[in-house]
């Protein structure tokens, strides 16, 4: 089974005070550390598991600049065979435009399955995968938590709200957006990444893939970014841990919880 997987590198924003930059349309990113998007990590693992079981190749793709090659190398270390980075240059990207670019490149490749993460943990659109499916004319499913291939079909699990799963059969080739928890992503060592440096990593420029200027226009426009209002929110319990613990136990008692 030949698999293509689309990934993204995102900034880590937990435990960081985010600030809006001067344009008012982005956050200040200089001091942030970057990682592979969690959902994509599960998708990479799934593709490698499938390759190990069924044979075939795994090609990992990202639309991004040179620094984003980190996540490609990491995927190669996990077991992907080759990587493609599409350099967007100065283009302003949105989910629609990324899916246009990916579709144009993937069109020319051989595959039975395309995987993406459900969403990326930065701007949370959750749209690139399924837009890509529609452009490639593929069967698709979002929020997939199980996959079992049987010839030209697969049985999949889709996670719904409220602890219910939907089981269906889908024709291949298909595009699936992978949900966290579908597997246990393997550990990647620095040594592993170094070794994977020998694998093929191709860079293509977006102006060379054959999209017209009209096809390189985004559909959404950021008007502004702003920080949530400070006024709303919790009453803060101050003090050292023992004061805090005392206060918590007091609240429990007030609310009728017997400890």
């Amino acid at each position: 089974m030949d698999i293509i997987i689309c990934v993204k590198r995102i900034p880590m924003t937990q435990e960081v005070d985010l600030e809006i930059d001067d344009s008012g349309k982005d956050i200040k990113k200089d001091a942030l550390a970057y990682v592979v998007n969690d959902w994509d990590n599960y998708a990479i693992e799934e593709s490698v598991i499938l390759k190990e079981k069924l044979g075939g190749t795994v090609t990992v793709i990202t639309v991004g600049d040179e620094d984003d090659e980190d996540v490609l190398r990491r995927a190669l270390a996990m077991g992907a065979d080759k990587a493609i980075r599409i350099e967007p240059g100065e283009l302003e990207l949105d989910g629609f435009l990324i899916s246009n670019i990916l579709a144009q490149v993937i069109k020319g490749l051989e595959y039975d399955l395309v995987l993406t993460g459900v969403q990326a943990d930065d701007d949370n659109f959750g749209m690139v995968g399924i837009m890509l499916a529609e452009k490639l004319g593929l069967a698709h499913s979002a929020v997939v938590t199980g996959f079992e291939a049987e010839g030209s079909e697969a049985t999949i699990n889709v996670e719904l709200e409220g602890g219910l799963d939907e089981v269906s059969k889908i024709k291949l080739p298909a595009l699936l957006s992978i949900q966290t928890g579908i597997n246990e992503p393997r550990y990647v060592s620095i040594m592993g990444i170094r070794k994977a440096g020998k694998k093929e990593l191709n860079v293509v420029k977006v102006e060379d893939i054959g999209l017209s200027d009209e096809e390189l226009v985004r559909q959404t426009i950021i008007e502004e970014y702003f920080l949530p209002p400070e006024t709303e929110g919790a009453e803060m319990i101050e003090g050292d841990p023992s004061n805090v613990a005392e206060a918590i136990l007091r609240i429990l008692k007030e609310k009728g919880v017997s400890v």
Partner: protein, 324 residues
């Protein structure tokens, strides 16, 4: 005057809450801007909920066919694309649910209508729709507009709009339609629903939940928090990453894809407050959040907050309980 089209989400014969939330918001926008509110149902024969939808809409379009009993992105996309080509609605609203995430992006490509997903508010300024979204795990808000088009598609985050208990009834007329005859082959076939949530602990009945998130760091720490929960006479619960890492079984998970809980007190240790998690605790009496990050979004919805290392607070609680 344009039309706002709401795609009704239903499952196993029942309308999902997100539908009422969208109908409510669409109703407000229609009132303010003199638009027409049309709900579209793709359902099986004689669905029982049509009246409930009609009460909240100016018109209901009901595609009635047993092939539409269960959601299918392929079918929905074909049918809705046909309808949209015919009526050119100004805004089409779809729930940002698992099904909505499968439908909306493909419908957007098919119709050519620009899409904004996971929106928490919708505005119309100078005749143009704008949306508010939460990004970076809810730490930043963004206001977005669209490339010019005659129609737009917006998916709505569940829980963003709260319809009042009593509504002004509209009594929309129901127009029944048949499925188009020339449908392409369906590439996905529904087989069954399965319950992924059953287990031997029931977090939905507890008065006190001690809930742990990714901040717990390692599998070994979960056991210590379980002991603390028990010492406090409560039950352990968790956020999704803890289940994803197999540190706890799925039936401990709180949130949209886990359980909705209603304890008197919910203690959240190292949980950032993603909307999928918060959706599970709207029924909680009091929420106390402990998080190292003073900007964690959970502090915006919690009743009480503690900015500290969760392990220090947990240890202090254990100490106090020993003394007490």
């Amino acid at each position: 005057m344009g039309e706002i089209l709401v795609v009704v989400e239903h499952r196993q014969g029942e309308v999902r809450d997100i539908t009422f939330e969208m109908l409510f918001k669409a109703g407000e926008l229609c009132k303010e801007f003199s638009h027409t509110l049309t709900a579209v149902v793709l359902g099986g024969k004689e669905e029982q909920f049509i009246d409930e939808v009609a009460k909240r809409s100016d018109n209901v379009i009901y595609y009635e066919d047993d092939r539409l009993k269960n959601f299918s992105a392929d079918l929905y996309k074909e049918v809705l694309n046909g309808l949209i080509e015919e009526t050119r609605p100004f805004i089409t609203l779809i729930g940002h649910s698992s099904w909505g995430m499968d439908l909306a992006p493909s419908l957007s490509i098919k119709t050519g209508y620009p899409l904004a997903t996971d929106c928490v508010d919708i505005l119309i300024e100078d005749g143009h729709p704008k949306v508010i979204r939460q990004i970076y795990s809810g730490k930043v808000f963004s206001k977005m507009s669209f490339k010019e088009s005659d129609g737009y598609i917006v998916t709505v985050r569940p829980g963003s709009f709260q319809p009042p208990e009593t509504i002004e009834e509209k009594n929309g007329g129901v127009i029944k339609k048949d499925l188009p005859g020339d449908l392409p082959e369906m590439r996905k076939k529904f087989i069954e629903f399965i319950d992924s949530g059953a287990g031997d602990v029931d977090i939905t009945q507890a008065d006190l939940l001690v809930s742990v998130g990714r901040g717990i760091g390692e599998a070994e720490n979960v056991q210590a928090m379980k002991e603390l929960a028990e010492r406090m006479g409560g039950v352990l619960a968790c956020s999704r990453p803890v289940v994803d890492k197999n540190w706890l079984p799925k039936y401990y998970q709180v949130g949209t894809s886990g359980k909705s809980v209603k304890p008197k007190v919910y203690l959240a240790f190292g949980i950032s407050g993603a909307f999928q998690h918060l959706a599970g605790i709207t029924g909680a009496g009091t929420v106390i959040a402990i998080n190292k990050d003073k900007k964690a979004p959970i502090f915006r919805v919690a009743d009480y907050g503690v900015v500290d290392d969760l392990f220090k607070v947990a240890d202090a609680l254990k100490e106090q309980l020993k003394e007490g």
